[in-house]
Symmetry: C2
């Protein structure tokens, strides 16, 4: 029973509390059936928190209109009069208003943010893919959150969950080397948000994928080595659960076949892709088999370190051993001899990944998972050129 007089009839006893409006008690005079609010002195107009960002409420108060009108005016809703729009925009600018994306997200149930999980930002391969993703995403009005798993399955899982609880609108992921189970992805698959895999993908989930031109790349590099007269080509690959390794190996085999050469399993070096493991394996195989005349490393970093390693031992490249890589890292242009490598078009991969995400959004309910292979191209440099073109 508030001690408040009705603004209309000035009676007290007929006035009842009737909910709140924006933190202000609202009253209803039963007599006049009239709702009203008591405005206190304006001294409480100071934002309660000193660092209070201006909101549409502030704008509404300043002009003396409702928040809905402000909201609509700000987004040029056709219903709103030009005059009002102008006033609102003016005040918004004066008060340095910026919409709160958190609140927008909560209300619209979308954040216009996509999460990207990659193994390692410091690797050019991934960081350049990122750039491709960001270009397309930001053109479409999406922000990109990045996290690196550092090749740890545990971190990958944690990051995945973190993204989902942040309500990202999509998840773009390249799995860590360690990752062999995919429950963390399956769990969120039901939520219906677009998930796109790239490079190290997972086939058992029905997601869209972007793949490197692995098979073709493996083929082209090997074919090129053969064309340069190499007969005994070592291929250095990683753990067998990584699809990319298998594909590149397939390409290698295909090239041998095309050139009527027999596949010798002893020429396949299984490593864990660490530099240490790669160099050890190279040393071992070269000690065992003196006939080797080429090394195809599945990664550029591996190839580069192999070159440095072999040169230290006085081995001439490419005369004694040709070396080729995969990835077209910038370092390949710097090292001597410059490195022959397969260029997987990383920017384009990134762009394609983001595009697939956007497609999924557009297609909505009746989205069908797509798999795209980004064509790459062989870049021939000195590390394999035995027969200089005449």
């Amino acid at each position: 029973m508030p001690r408040v007089k009705c603004i209309k009839c000035l009676k007290e006893e007929t006035v009842l509390r009737a909910g709140f409006i924006r933190g202000k008690q609202r009253f209803l005079c039963k007599e006049c059936n009239y709702h009203f609010t008591i405005y206190k002195e304006r001294d409480n107009d100071k934002p309660s928190r000193k660092n209070h960002a201006t909101t549409i409420i502030d704008i509404a108060k300043a002009i003396g209109i409702s928040v809905s009108t402000v909201s609509r005016a700000l987004k040029d809703h056709p219903d709103i009069s030009l005059q009002t729009k102008k006033a609102v925009k003016q005040v918004a600018a004066d008060l340095n208003y910026h919409p709160n994306t958190l609140a927008q997200g909560l209300s619209k149930r979308e954040t216009r943010t996509i999460g990207v999980i990659i193994p390692d930002i410091e690797t050019y391969f991934f960081s350049s893919i990122l750039t491709g993703i960001q270009n397309v995403a930001s053109a479409a009005g999406y922000k990109v959150m990045i996290s690196q798993s550092k090749e740890s399955h545990e971190t990958e899982v944690a990051n995945t969950h973190a993204f989902m609880t942040n309500w990202v609108d999509g998840l773009l992921i390249c799995h860590s080397k360690e990752t062999k189970t995919f429950d963390h992805i399956k769990l969120h698959l039901k939520s219906g948000i677009p998930i796109v895999h790239f490079d190290r993908v997972c086939d058992e989930l029905g997601t869209s994928k972007v793949l490197l031109d692995d098979l073709n790349g493996g083929f082209q590099v090997t074919d090129h080595l053969i064309s340069q007269g190499c007969k005994r080509i070592v291929i250095v690959i990683g753990p067998p659960h990584l699809n990319v390794c298998i594909k590149r190996l397939e390409g290698y085999k295909k090239a041998l076949k095309k050139n009527n050469m027999e596949f010798d399993p002893s020429l396949v070096c299984h490593t864990n892709l660490s530099i240490k493991s790669i160099l050890e394996n190279v040393d071992a195989i070269m000690k065992k088999d003196k006939s080797i005349d080429a090394i195809f490393s599945i990664s550029d970093i591996g190839a580069i370190r192999t070159i440095v390693h072999l040169k230290k031992k006085g081995i001439k490249i490419p005369e004694q051993i040709s070396v080729a890589g995969f990835g077209n890292e910038p370092m390949g242009e710097i090292i001597e001899p410059t490195l022959t490598s397969f260029n997987p078009q990383t920017y384009k991969i990134g762009e394609t990944v983001a595009q697939l995400f956007l497609n999924h959004l557009i297609e909505g309910e009746n989205h069908q998972p797509a798999t795209k292979v980004v064509k790459g191209n062989l870049i021939v440099r000195s590390s394999t050129l035995r027969n200089p073109p005449d």
Copy 2:
């Protein structure tokens, strides 16, 4: 005037609408002064959206307790009984509940997210700083949003605003090369959120800063070159508005002074730090001045490309020209000759940046901006070693 009977007195005319409770109309019988709500059939219990993530409301309904109890139980509030906690956590797990960080952020007015703006992820220097930042930040429970300005002032400004409207709890920024005005930062300085600058900082804003060991680095590199017998050392720097250039140049001068050598302004190459500009300048100065015996490039990439360039012209490094860089990029170990460079300790820089942000948070109101210089160290390699130690 709702057509609702009071639960107590069963009268209709005395019942008034009195606000809402959780989406349900609340009524007040003026007669009995009694508040009540009409519960409809339970058939609206189905989640309205099919892909509705479970919320604490779902848990509360499932158990038949209130949302506040659920909320508190989930965060082990001491008030809640062990029994309740157990039940809540059980159901939460069953329903695969994940708190909505958007709502949490809106409610708590913090997002536990920090924004990082760097010129370019593809540069090792920045990506390794990022890793340092992420390590410290995630250990403290903060997520990291990354955006690259690609050295464009415009993009930097846009990204800054995007972060602020996303209510990041802090902003860590390294300005683009183009950036000469700082209104976009000033604007948000008032909001009170911690802003930390690194590398390319701005002095006119009272923010915390993390600086490279630029002066010392410039000094050490130059001093080392001199110790190797170099007399005419070219220093290749970037635009004068970048504080890092000035500092490294100062170090260069300091080293000359220490060794009683005169500073010759004609040996300073002003470039825009692009490869093209660097190589052109190097060519020009070497053509003009045949006495030059060393080049100190302010960036490793510049130094590396310079080496490649000079080698192509048949110049012997370090015998004819010594070359040194700054940054300790991985490529420096690969190129021949391997590159002498100053290692700025990028990881540590990143960690320090994040730490400064955390400090700011802890200190709160009475925070005093700090400036930290991360000590680096000279890494001597072949590109400058003229007098092999005997």
